[in-house]
Symmetry: C2
DNA sequence: CTGTTAGCGCGTTCAA
DNA sequence: TTGAACGCGCTAACAG
């Protein structure tokens, strides 16, 4: 492998000149520039990353902390982060935290030990005060989830607005008995989507029924969605629509509804959230809020890059979402006689 | 951050001694050992990776080349690789090759430039001769897919054996008109699974019908599976069973079969391959060959580690699979009168 | 604008 | 068995 010394000799200049040209800070005579670039090419020179990092006291690596690298919602975000990191010349080091805060903390010590120049956290729950000391010392961006009480740069969609749109859609279809399947986790997104549900009912002057609101397990499994849906739909005065805060829950709900003999959307209308995949694989195709996962990850990395290079990033970046209306809500609802007034 | 010099001073020894103790090559007096380890702990010393790499002429990183980091089949393998790499103190650098060979080549230059100490390739197609010069110079392991004509360390399942089991299962159920949905790609696994299909029919003295064999797109999409199945099942003397070389194809096939008014498994029996997910989400649950993806990745990293540390790894490592018999084949088939003899 | 030179933190000779 | 000293390849002062 060629080193910077080889290039310098080959081009007949000093190593400092080569370094300057390669890093493009100060001005260099154009003639030398060309000569050096020529040598770089013919020697196939690539800077030795270890030496550069040692000298600059950097690592050239960013940390991605994800709770689960097999969940498609995260993999798309990770792909976006990876692409953006690559464009900036950074490697990304992907870590599975398995939702274990002590593992998160352990990993963040990598920042202290300069084994990483910055970090992107994918799914921190509320109560993220413990992050503050880290965020003050190191470049950290929260992606998709964040804690509004903790002032750390974050990228997300407008969860409240998106959930409100979904609810308005159900109300516009004529539904008055709308159920909710949320989750036991402590993500801010869960709080916002749930609040949007209650607020929308309030605005429509519909009395909230606590027996219409169910909570699935923290990780949005298909099975928990189907279990909760089954119990909600078993009530005598059952909901005619279900708003689910995640697609997997919605798919589970459809499965239960069908098994119970209900037609979707005619008897029960179901709406999901995320649009990450499989929403258009089985009929009825799922109505859901589409999140641009790849772009969310990509933008998060852009913010992190600003942070690392000393520029001022946006404290909050909101990425556009889109309500995708499909088969699972393709039915204008009219109270059947047996249901009476809600 | 504490450096090795700080530790040496704190323990009252030379840096060389600290280095020796930390790397455990040569013998050191036990008393000093303890003193140094104490200092390491109280100073929270961690070796500077960049300096170590510069000195050792290594990178501490391994490359993972995957065609698509959002496909669940790969994400589970990647998780396995990542865990094993972490255990050996390596970082893993995940790259999306998007099935582009020039991108693969470009990435492998990282090995030459010592930006990576080894590589695991996840989905090389047949015709992998171009890899030979790289594999002679650098530690490379092929994971899940490989080219039998190219002698590179690889980890895989017994695709021929597994597909044979699946076929024997269909034959044991009484099926004589068995269709195949394979793929246009050039993976060795595709070749083997297809060969197992033809060989099993031969052994059972069943005449092969070319109109029963269809090819889906190279990346196993749900839609292509459903398209091919529709065409296979539209024939007058349609197949009574379909062997699909991937789960997504099988799920697509089930969807088409249902839309065409066939019951699964009563009218059409369907078997998939991989068991990566969603095989037990919608009824009928899919009969399929289960691959231990995480373990395949984990073992691939173990082999790579052997290669990197100069030990002799197994040229070929075959991981056990398991045929999971579920609802989509839960039916003993008897020729209905209208079908006649095949 | 360009060259000379001093480390960055570590592992590894070579002496003792 | 231990320590002193060199140099890995690079960047950033400092001189010129």
């Amino acid at each position: 492998m060629a080193t910077i010394v080889d290039v310098a000799k080959h081009a007949g200049v000093s190593v400092a000149t080569v370094s300057r040209i390669l890093n493009g800070k100060t001005k260099v005579r154009e003639e030398l520039r060309l000569r050096v670039m020529d040598s770089v090419k013919s020697l196939e020179y690539t800077p030795n990353a270890a030496a550069r990092n040692l000298r600059r006291n950097e690592s050239g690596t960013i940390l991605i902390l994800a709770p689960n690298i097999t969940n498609p919602y995260y993999t798309h975000i990770i792909a976006g982060i990876g692409d953006a990191a690559h464009e900036h010349g950074y490697s990304s080091f992907l870590c599975n935290t398995a939702n274990d805060r002590s593992r998160e903390k352990e990993l963040l010590t990598r920042l202290e030990h300069q084994q990483a120049d910055g970090a992107i956290l994918l799914a921190t729950e509320l109560g993220a005060e413990w992050l503050i000391p880290y965020a003050q010392k190191f470049p950290i961006v929260q992606c998709s989830e964040f804690d509004p009480k903790v002032d750390i740069v974050h990228v997300s969609i407008d969860n409240y607005g998106a959930a409100t749109e979904a609810m308005e859609h159900l109300l516009a279809l004529g539904h008055k008995r709308i159920g909710l399947i949320s989750s036991l986790n402590h993500y801010y997104s869960t709080v916002l989507r749930t609040k949007a549900y209650y607020d929308a009912l309030d605005r429509a002057n519909i009395t909230v029924r606590e027996e219409y609101a169910g909570k699935a397990t923290f990780d949005y499994t298909f099975k928990s969605g189907s279990d909760v849906a089954r119990s909600l739909l078993s009530q005598e005065a059952r909901p005619t629509a279900l708003f689910c805060i995640s697609d997997m829950l919605a798919l589970g709900a459809i499965s239960s509804a069908k098994e119970m003999g209900f037609r979707v959307p005619e008897d029960v209308t179901i709406v999901g959230f995320d649009d990450v995949e499989h929403t258009m694989m089985f009929h009825p195709y799922l109505t859901t809020v589409s999140q641009p996962c790849f772009d969310i990850g990509y933008q998060a990395m852009q913010q992190l890059f600003r942070l690392m290079s000393g520029e001022e990033p946006a404290r909050e970046l909101i990425i556009p979402h889109k309500l995708e209306i499909r088969e699972s809500s393709a039915h204008r609802y009219l109270d059947p006689p047996w249901i009476g007034q809600p």
